[in-house]
Amino acid sequence: MDIDALLKFLEASGLAARIRDSVFLFPMIESTHVIGLALVFGTIAVIDLRLLGIASTQRSFHRMASDILKWTWGAFALTAAAHAQDYCGPGATIIEFMIGQIMMP
């Protein structure tokens, strides 16, 4: 697929124009992204530390996974949605797009 055409399409979209024209939208989307990221990383760390046997070792893994992972997925959806909106913001460059693809877990 032609990445240039895709980026131009994104930049010309109505959503992109709304984000560019608003003073609030871009920082708010970024903040949502950081909030989601902190929750994904925080809750994943709780599960990982249990798997590594470093913390919460007296709790059953099954119980913890059913308890916590639903929140991780919820936060992931929030982060991904905010990230997708970021692409439509000012200066969606090819490099930014590619870095985004690599960074997305």
């Binding site: 003073v23 920082p27 909030i35 929750l39 925080g42 709780v46 709790r59 119980r63 916590i68 929140w71």
Partner: protein, 173 residues
Amino acid sequence: MKQFAEWLSTTSSSVFIQNHNGWVIPTIQSIHIVGIAAVFGSVFMICLRILGWAGMDQTLRQTTSRFGPWLTGGLWLMLVTGILMVIGEPVRELVTFSFWLKMFLVAVSTVVVTIFQSSLRKHEQRWEDTLVQRGSIKGLAIVTFLIWVCIIILGRLIAYDHIWGSWSPATKA
């Protein structure tokens, strides 16, 4: 404050960070975000337990002993990296409305967390039996979580302080 920020930017430690700006500031910022994840994740887990939405196989005390140290550790990590960012970019940080509102909310939430932890230590049984079921306590858990949401948003808004209009000292300068 502007004079202090300008003086701070001439100190040798600030000049060092400015001279290595290519990687020092981004590295500190990244560590600061890891700190946010530790603090916000811990606050989240404790709030979920108070609300009864997760960790119900654990007592409140077990939950706070599990996440309390991460909360405190994360706060220290953010204090250290935060101070380094202020030293590195004093005017960008200190001459903003967002920064000071953020610091006020950090102080408020630290006081709330400290009171909660010491009260839980003193009246453990009462907390486990009755207090944790109270609507007001559940409300306070939600408010504390939202304060942290605001802290994160304000942290981001330091870079966009002009949105506050005349409240932002940067627009007056």
